[in-house]
């Protein structure tokens, strides 16, 4: 039978390769898995994967290519919010479902018929962090964020919700995606009177350097990182300075520390083992998003018993209680993310490893 084509555009190179690379690897790995198990609906699955290099214009071109030339029935991808937003009109118009791997809330708000996404929104992460701060009695924070799409979007979301927790921001600094020294900004925060904790939305090497500079300057306040660093490589890069850093992260980082009855435990463990074996690299949340993306699409095709894009979409929207690596998803016509704050767990870095913090409150 001719294959069912699933498309993907990720930023496997360029500034967001940190995200796109594990995504690409995961997609390839699990499409192979699917085929080993006989494919979907008795047909083999073909992954058509393109690398946009972080350029929204390229992403758009590849989106057209997937629709027009490759005739895919569904698409998993868009590493960044910008790229996803550039591609959405193409897929909406063609009526082909998209499961985005980007964080931006604007992807699913307002809800678009054919657009879903797997990553938590930045907002959820912010909420999780502020819950933790509140529980520890912190009311005044300093913020230092990356100016990349991830950092900037999360900063904005955090500023939106922070009021609800009675927390104020006393210092609001930023750093460029490629900066190699953040001491000036941290020094400013250090010298801002009253700051009780520091929050660093960002991904890539930036947070690692922030963490090291933090230690170099001898700042003793609690440091919160975001889910953007949720990969073992962060601990390696930041070195001993990472001790005590807190962050919201999905289950994937602490598979071995999950309670035995945790429904995510087997899923997470399986993904972690397969991915690390196949790629030789530590798992990250980002690969997890792609895992959930491809699984959701595969499940939808199975349950729709059809490779028709519209039917896949309908089946996707009907997803209930899918236990993924990132969390447990339930889509509805008004919610195309389907994750709650509980999919995040508050972690702290101890002795060079992740440790689970007892749930706040």
């Amino acid at each position: 039978a001719d294959p069912i084509k699933i498309g993907s555009v990720v930023s496997a190179t360029g500034p967001a390769a940190f995200l796109g690379d594990p995504e690409a690897k995961t997609l390839k790995l699990y499409v192979d898995e699917l085929n080993k198990k006989g494919g979907l609906l008795g047909r083999p699955v073909e992954l058509v994967l393109y690398d946009d290099g972080g350029d929204a214009n390229k992403a758009r071109t590849f989106a057209t290519r997937l629709v027009e030339d490759d005739k895919v029935v569904a698409m998993v991808g868009g590493t960044s919010t910008g790229a996803t937003m550039a591609m959405i009109p193409v897929f909406e118009e063609a009526g082909i479902p998209v499961v985005s791997l980007a964080g931006g809330i604007e992807i699913i708000e307002p809800v678009r018929a054919f657009v879903f996404k797997t990553p938590h929104t930045d907002k959820t992460a912010c909420q999780k962090i502020f819950e933790d701060m509140k529980a520890r009695g912190i009311t005044k924070t300093g913020m230092i964020s990356g100016t990349d799409g991830f950092g900037k979007s999360m900063r904005n979301q955090c500023l939106k919700v922070i009021g609800q927790y009675g927390i104020t921001v006393l210092a609001d600094e930023s750093y460029g995606a490629t900066d190699s020294d953040m001491t000036p900004q941290l020094n400013k925060i250090k010298n801002t009177a009253g700051v009780e904790a520091v929050l660093n939305p960002g991904f890539g090497q930036g947070p690692a350097i922030v963490t090291r500079n933090y230690a170099q300057l001898g700042i003793k306040l609690p440091l919160y990182q975001s889910h953007g660093v949720a990969s073992k490589s962060f601990i390696e890069l930041a070195g001993p300075a990472a001790e005590g850093v807190r962050l919201p992260a999905p289950a994937i980082l602490i598979d071995d520390k999950l309670a035995d009855n945790d429904p995510q435990k087997p899923v997470v463990a399986e993904y972690k083992t397969s991915y690390e074996k196949a790629s030789g690299q530590p798992v990250s949340t980002f690969g997890g998003y792609a895992y959930d993306g491809i699984q959701l699409v595969a499940r939808a095709i199975e349950s729709a018993k059809s490779a028709d894009p519209k039917k896949i979409r309908d089946a996707l929207e009907a997803t209930k209680g899918y236990v993924g690596v990132t969390g447990i998803y339930t889509f509805t016509p008004t919610d195309h993310l389907g994750l709650g704050t509980d999919s995040f767990r508050m972690l702290v870095i101890r002795n060079g490893d992740w440790a689970l913090e007892a749930p706040a409150r």
Binding site: A12, T13, L49, Y50, D51, G54, D55, A56, N57, K58, R60, T61, T64, R65, V67, E68, D69, S80, T81, G82, M85, A86, P89, G104, E106, T147, D148, G149, K152, S153, N156
Partner: protein, 314 residues
Amino acid sequence: MKAILRSRLTPLLALALVMALVPMIAPTSFHLRVAALVWIFSLAALGLTILMGYAGQVSLGHAGFLGIGAYAVAIGPARLGLDPLLCLLLGAVLSGLVAWLVGRPILRLKGYYLAIATLGFGVIVALILHSETELTGGPDGMSVARVTLFGWRVTGALNWYWVSAGALLVGALLALNIAASPTGRALRALHDSEVAATGAGIDVSAKKLAAFVLAAVYAAVAGGLLAAMNGLITPEAASFSHSVELVAMVIIGGLGSVFGTVLGAAFLVVLPQALTAFQEYEQAVLGLLIMVFMIFLPQGIVPSLRALIEERLP
């Protein structure tokens, strides 16, 4: 034969012919989109052909002007409620104005010093587009309103194909006009010797500035078209790597050759699409191909091939 090779309008006719043929053989609108992108980037690069190829002045920040044009078309309708088409014009004017302001001081610099100054300009523009989130939507960019041309909503790949092809034809015609005119002669002259051009009574700084402004307008129009066609624009459009890409189009195609510039743009727009077959090796192959082309066609595709052909002709 040689007369044909040298005629001013030959490249234009060749280009028009290719433009007419592509829709006939393009299997899907994806191919049309790629072709439209080639026309749009050619247009942006054509400005550099005038600036770099004719006048010999390097700009490593030209994507900045492209960004100005693109964001004018994005911001105008969204924030000020202006007509997109009007914004395309406003963007071109604004870009020209900025070029005039920036060019006056920095065009006194020469060679690599001009390169770093223009590079700095481009970085600053990109940084502003990136950071002024309220206005520009920040790193994730902003969406662009649909363009209406005299009541006709421009949508679909084929329509955009013709709009961009038309824009490029006009741009190419103007560039060829310039080349064959006293202004073009003056630009090529100051490329070789500014002292001698001055000695011929040419106001060298004014001519350089004119070329710079013109190049900025070309880039802005291209940027506006790009934004309107995509319906979304991100600051990436104004990035340093994009500036380098524009320069690369001009050099690979052949400095100072209009048709070459289009080939150069086609090279860099189409190649990544063709190279997806190489998967992870895509980037390596792209780099390798650029090197190979430059080693074997050191003056760029068109001038090098023309020299080869002329040598073989009696």
